[in-house]
Symmetry: C2
């Protein structure tokens, strides 16, 4: 499948409602469980997605579209959400994510990006040269990866409860060494 802006917007626009359907009002043991030290709980994932809205995707797209003398992105802080959201409820984070995502997609749509603009370059601090098209495709994959992570982390809370079924449930043995 090749990158398509409309098909990308279709997925990006669904993430708040999908996470809301899965998590809003859900009991704490599901929401706060992790798959080991320094891994994200579902609560952490929503905070991390908010960080992406505020500091990653749109700020980086702006740098590429401006094509100023310095195309280098700010490094992204994967743990910004920890201190930021210590006193927050999941419900308020889901509402904030919904609002930020809606505004960012409205902005992205308003740019009416051309194929030429999608080819514009930026400079990732560790990966080097990337294009705006690749950034937007990565935004989609990043959302879906974290949705998969939320489902996997929730599943693992019942790892000890399924008895002999473990080998039939590969989600329980994915990322035994955490990868995201």
């Amino acid at each position: 499948m090749h990158f398509d802006l409309e098909l990308s917007l279709a997925v990006l626009g669904r993430s708040p409602a999908t996470l809301g359907a899965l998590l809003d009002g859900l009991e704490e043991p599901w929401v706060r469980g992790t798959e080991g030290p320094d891994t994200f709980s579902p609560f952490d994932v929503v905070g991390h997605l908010i960080d992406g809205e505020e500091t990653d995707w749109i700020p980086r797209a702006r740098i590429m579209l401006a094509q100023g003398p310095d195309l280098r992105f700010e490094p992204y802080d994967r743990f910004r959400h920890r201190a930021r959201n210590a006193a927050r409820s999941l419900e308020s984070l889901l509402a904030e994510f919904t609002r930020l995502r809606t505004d960012n997609l409205d902005l992205l749509r308003s740019w009416r990006l051309t194929a030429r603009e999608l080819d514009l370059p930026g400079e990732h601090p560790s990966l080097g040269r990337v294009t705006l098209r690749q950034l937007l495709a990565t935004w989609v994959v990043h959302d879906l990866g974290h949705l998969a992570q939320v489902a996997r982390v929730m599943a693992k809370q019942y790892q000890g409860e399924v008895g002999p079924w473990v080998p039939f449930l590969p989600v329980l043995t994915d990322h035994i060494v955490p990868r995201s």
Copy 2:
């Protein structure tokens, strides 16, 4: 986390709306993509979950609760949905899954299962002796595993579009050899 019937029902009850938020009305390339031969697309997953409602979880729970002379479960057909749903739309499958799941959880609640009943045994055709508690925990993990699969399979449709970001997106390299 130990098995808890109410916490299990909370997750099982969310799956239809979660899959609906992610998939209902979504464009075909996202819905029909797979991660290789003999793997499930998001469309296939919804069909597979319907098969579970009709032929797996509740029928097996009934065998365990009845404690008749033969506790052996019918083998489960992972590909029943293929022929069954060939002419169906995703929208109609999502509606059917919602209806079946609602009815099955109403039934499960109506049983008011006791701790003693949750310990009742059944005989899995290949795994041997299992308990009703393990069956119900497996139902929860099975839902979440397939939700993770849907997100992963969708993400992989953009595998070739993210440029150098692949190593930062572990969802793209999970299940390179399909496992579910």
